[in-house]
């Protein structure tokens, strides 16, 4: 029984067999109630949290709190790779539009194409909703760029304007310590200075 639980814990990121052992003994010897609460919360969460029917982020209800919020600007649609990306953008507090969550990024070599990513669902959404701008917030990786390009083509079909989040030197960062690829990217994406004044 303990061995089975150990294996289950090992599936978590950052947990090896040793840490799993520590968790299990801690719960068994010092905190049985905590263990039972954890089991209950885990079961409940795993059973009840599904994907939002509209944006596909994780949600207890059919529509997540963002999609259900009428005050959000539904003409803007920000496309991200994972639900954690939504969390990151929401924390910045500068965006008030809607989201769409992909199941990762396009990776042809791993057999992940448009259908596997949920891009068909994105297309159906574009057909029924009045989106005027798609914000491509996929990662600045090769796979993220390919994904962005694919969605750009999709949006073009529906005559929707696409924008891409800017990538470059991190705030507070110094050029000397920035890698050359980031510098090249930042230079090619430079903006007119007068927008700042």
């Amino acid at each position: 029984m303990i061995e089975k639980l150990n294996k289950a814990f090992c599936k978590l990121p950052g947990v090896g067999s040793k840490s799993a052992q520590r968790f299990i003994y801690h719960l068994l010897e010092r905190d049985r109630q905590g263990g039972l609460d954890l089991a209950k919360a885990l079961t409940e969460t795993m059973e009840k949290v599904k994907n939002c029917a509209r944006c596909r982020t994780l949600s207890e209800k059919t529509l997540c709190s963002i999609c259900a919020n009428n005050a959000r600007d539904s003409s803007q649609l920000c496309v991200v790779e994972t639900p954690t990306d939504i969390h990151a953008i929401e924390q910045s507090g500068v965006y008030s539009g809607n989201y769409f969550v992909l199941s990762g990024y396009l990776s042809p070599i791993d057999g992940i194409g448009a259908a596997e990513l949920g891009l068909d669902e994105l297309e159906s959404l574009l057909k029924i909703e009045e989106v005027s701008e798609i914000i491509l917030a996929t990662n600045a990786t090769i796979e993220g760029e390919v994904t962005a390009h694919y969605i750009y083509n999709l949006a073009k079909k529906y005559q929707i304007r696409t924008t891409r989040i800017a990538h470059g030197i991190p705030l507070g960062g110094e050029l000397e310590y920035t890698d050359i690829n980031t510098i090249a990217h930042a230079l090619s994406g430079r903006k007119s200075y007068d927008i700042y004044s």
Binding site: P108, N181, H185
Partner: protein, 228 residues
């Protein structure tokens, strides 16, 4: 124990491995296609770039060796849009077709040349360059074709039409779908004579050649060429 220091390589694929590591597929000039682990590399922000010539060091005893060091020996090269799709497609080709740890220096050099050229070429030139790269790859893997001879060994006639048969080569046929003229253009490497129609014929030809080697599972990157 293998220990290799700073050998020329391209990163052709990466995926997450365990918690904080990456599993990296490299195409090296001297050791062919190899898979390495980069421990703790996921949090490293200045990540390894694809489409850039690198020098990598690796060592290990087991089959799965560790990447120990790397440096760029190339300028930053960033592809966008369709150029990126072309580059991703070539990586899938290498990934699917190159056998593990088999040296293919001509393919390596051809790949680098192809990457350098993408940024400078017109759409038609890019397409032709890709066909040439596919031809080079197929030839190096033992599936080469002679573009100046038909299946019986007679010279290709620019006035005739041909059909490609997997095990025979180019068979002269009245209703063949490949004009002899197109084959001669490839043979002479004279792309000035190529029309858009010719390019489409060569694309179909290579698709057929690749399909017989790849088997049932098609190249996934083809999906990305949509809407063009």
């Amino acid at each position: 124990m293998t220990k290799i220091e700073l050998t020329p390589a391209f990163l052709i694929h990466r995926r997450m491995y365990q918690d904080s590591s990456l599993l990296l597929d490299f195409f090296t000039r001297n050791y062919g296609k190899i898979r390495l682990v980069a421990r703790g590399a996921r949090s490293n922000k200045t990540s390894l770039q694809m489409f850039q010539r690198l020098n990598i060091s690796f060592k290990g005893r087991s089959e799965l060796k560790n990447l120990t060091n790397w440096e760029s020996s190339d300028q930053p090269r960033r592809f966008l849009g369709n150029d990126l799709v072309l580059a991703i497609y070539t990586n899938e080709l290498l990934s699917r077709l190159l056998p593990e740890a088999e040296k293919h220096q001509k393919v390596f050099d051809g790949y680098w040349h192809y990457l350098i050229m993408i940024n400078e070429q017109s759409d038609a030139e890019k397409e032709y360059s890709l066909r040439l790269f596919e031809n080079l790859l197929l030839e190096e893997l033992g599936y080469g074709l002679e573009f100046n001879k038909d299946s019986t060994g007679s010279p290709i006639d620019s006035e005739l039409e041909y059909q490609f048969q997997e095990h025979e080569g180019f068979v002269a046929k009245v209703d063949g779908n490949i004009p002899g003229e197109v084959l001669l253009v490839v043979n002479d490497d004279d792309n000035d004579r190529l029309s858009v129609g010719h390019l489409a014929i060569l694309k179909k030809l290579n698709r057929k050649r690749l399909r017989s080697i790849l088997g049932e599972r098609p190249l996934k990157s083809r999906e990305l060429f949509f809407a063009n």
